[in-house]
């Protein structure tokens, strides 16, 4: 029970903090966050119902219904962020190279014009 209250308090606290800090920048992100927090809030408030639901589905505890999908999502996110990182590195190199090649061509043009 105590853990449930703590989890709810944490979700409400972070929700409030984000309401103050990011509501002007991205309302959609905030909405998504609140949907997730509501799920956590319900899970912490009615653990027995979620345990019963989990037993029906066959995943053990109610909290596992959140943890397993979360693990899948986190694993996917880790891989995708690595791929994105390498793509960005590649793009930075292309940009740096293009700047250097253009600078060299400009210097040559200026040199030719000064002759």
């Amino acid at each position: 029970m105590m853990l449930g209250i703590l989890v709810c308090a944490l979700a409400v606290g972070i929700g409030l903090l984000d309401w103050i800090s990011i509501r002007r920048e991205s309302k959609r992100i905030l909405m998504l966050e609140y949907v997730g927090f509501t799920g956590i809030f319900l899970l912490a408030t009615f653990p027995d119902r979620f345990n019963a639901l989990a037993a029906m589905v066959g995943v053990g505890r109610g909290v596992d219904m959140i943890i397993y999908p979360l693990l899948v999502w986190l694993f996917r996110e880790a891989i995708l962020s690595r791929v994105r990182y390498h793509q960005q590195q590649r793009e930075i190199t292309r940009l740096v190279r293009a700047i250097a090649v253009e600078a060299c061509a400009t210097a040559a043009r200026n040199h030719a014009e000064s002759l």
């Binding site: 390498h86 740096v96 190279r97 090649v101 060299c104 210097a107």
Partner: protein, 250 residues
Amino acid sequence: MVPRQRIAFLIPAFHVHPWLPTFVERLNSAFDRLRDEAGLEPVLVFVDDGSSRTGTTLDCHLSPLKGLSAEVACTRHPINRGQGAAIQTALEIARSSRVNASYFATFDSDGQHDPQDVVTMVSELRQRSLNIVFGNRFEAARSGGTGIPVLRWLLLRLASAFERTVTGLRLTDAHNGLRVFDRAAADKIELYQDRMAHATEFKAIVSRHSLRYGEVPVTITYSEESLSSGQRNSDALRVLVELLRGWWFR
């Protein structure tokens, strides 16, 4: 009069000190031989890979570069991207209509290579109708050249065995920065590996496109500058990780 074909020296530089007059003289002497013996006009493409340390920036290199008896094209990466990226930049400039080189030589900027070796490599490339020639430091070391530090010798041998397994190319020296190649090979080269693993990528490209390749004994001079600015022995593992990363996330 038909203009001479050009050979572009592709020189990546990162945190290296400007060349001494003696090295500039050695380069000029090799340029003369390239003109006389191979009928090639040398062009130097110098790419500063975002050097920021005092005394190593592009401005500091301009004076010795002016002392060269060849046309020089120099540029600078605004931020450091690695030796592979700098070689690719130099290659793009050398392939452009401005330079339009027919032959290319990758050449480390820290003075560890002997410019005269390029003349021998060009001759070998042409005589044997090869697309690319790699430098091999082990032959010269065996016949009384500059000695290779023991740990580096061991790591290079291991790297060669690894590359032979991965690419199928029978080459002795895994990470020699001195290579000479023709236009057909240059048009195939698009380096993906920005940092040190580009040396293995060169061989993968040769294998993928079935280019004709060979090896020529070259001399490497291990000075304090070349040992500190070049690859460290501990970089071997990093190269392996870079290769695996490139393979997975390409």
